[in-house]
């Protein structure tokens, strides 16, 4: 139910949050030797996440033994498969590929998009609240 209310924005918000974390990590490691900057393939991650969202009859894998491995069925849980190394335009001697200006710009862009997503979700919530109250 909730998924159909928020549409794609719920998944988008999760990916945006994860991406913000990654970019913050890149920025925190701006002076770490041999650190390679990473980013998420947002389009692919969202496509896959929304594909999962559209099939409502997907069964959740239940873990009955602590040795069981996490399934992939519970929506968007990991971004590791969408991670990509950033191509550095000005390689540095210490093997670090973080370019602070690029990361900052990406972070800002991601923050604005996250804000937009939050705005969408907020709009949905107030719309439904209005409908429930009969306003």
């Amino acid at each position: 139910m909730a998924e159909s209310i928020f549409g794609i924005h719920e998944q988008a918000l999760q990916i945006r949050t994860k991406r913000a974390e990654l970019l913050a990590n890149n920025l925190a490691n701006a002076d770490t030797p041999n650190f390679k900057a990473k980013d998420i393939d947002f389009r692919k991650a969202l496509q896959d996440a929304s594909g999962e969202m559209k099939s409502p009859y997907q069964s959740e894998m239940r873990k009955t033994n602590p040795g069981h491995i996490d399934g992939d069925s519970n929506g968007f849980s990991s971004t590791s498969q969408y991670l990509m190394y950033r191509q550095s335009t000005q390689p540095s001697l210490d093997g670090n590929t973080v370019e602070t200006h690029i990361e900052k710009a990406q972070f800002m862009e991601n923050a604005m998009q996250q804000e937009a997503t939050l705005e969408f979700i907020n709009g949905k919530i107030s719309g439904i609240r209005g409908a429930l109250r009969g306003e």
Partner: protein
């Protein structure tokens, strides 16, 4: 997935930069600490940063830490100054291998990185507050 992890990541970055600033302060403060012995001379200290890998190797979103603080291997500066009270029997004093200009550049880089982490934290804080207030 924790919402507040991003604040931890930025905090590790700020901590690492603070350690860096501290070593720079120590180096600059000791730039004139002369001694009469090569081994006792103050050696320039430099922090070495390392990424914190969390759990799974493909998701290094743990931030940064100071792996160790190493002492520069550059030779101490010998200076012939027989009138100096610290001079050895041949009249030499030893100055630390601190390069003040290098340290100043290092300090600027560290403070910029610190600021970047603060900015990330500020932006994230606003977004997290907006998320918490969803539907209000």
């Amino acid at each position: 997935m924790s919402m507040f992890k991003i604040l931890d990541i930025s905090a590790t970055g700020m901590h690492a930069q603070t350690v860096r600033l501290n070593t720079i302060a120590s180096n600059m403060a000791n730039v004139d600490s002369v001694s009469s012995n090569k081994d006792e001379t103050y050696k320039s200290k430099q922090p070495v940063f390392q990424t914190i890998l969390e759990g799974n190797m493909h998701e290094p979103t743990g931030g940064v830490r100071v792996k160790e603080v190493v002492e520069s291997q550059a030779p101490s500066i010998m200076e012939y100054n027989p009138n100096h009270p610290m001079s050895d029997e041949k009249g030499y004093i030893y100055r630390p291998n601190v390069n003040v200009i290098e340290e100043m550049a290092n300090m600027m880089s560290a403070s910029r990185s610190y600021e970047t982490n603060i900015e990330v934290m500020n932006t994230s804080k606003q977004l997290l507050l907006r998320t918490i207030q969803l539907g209000k």
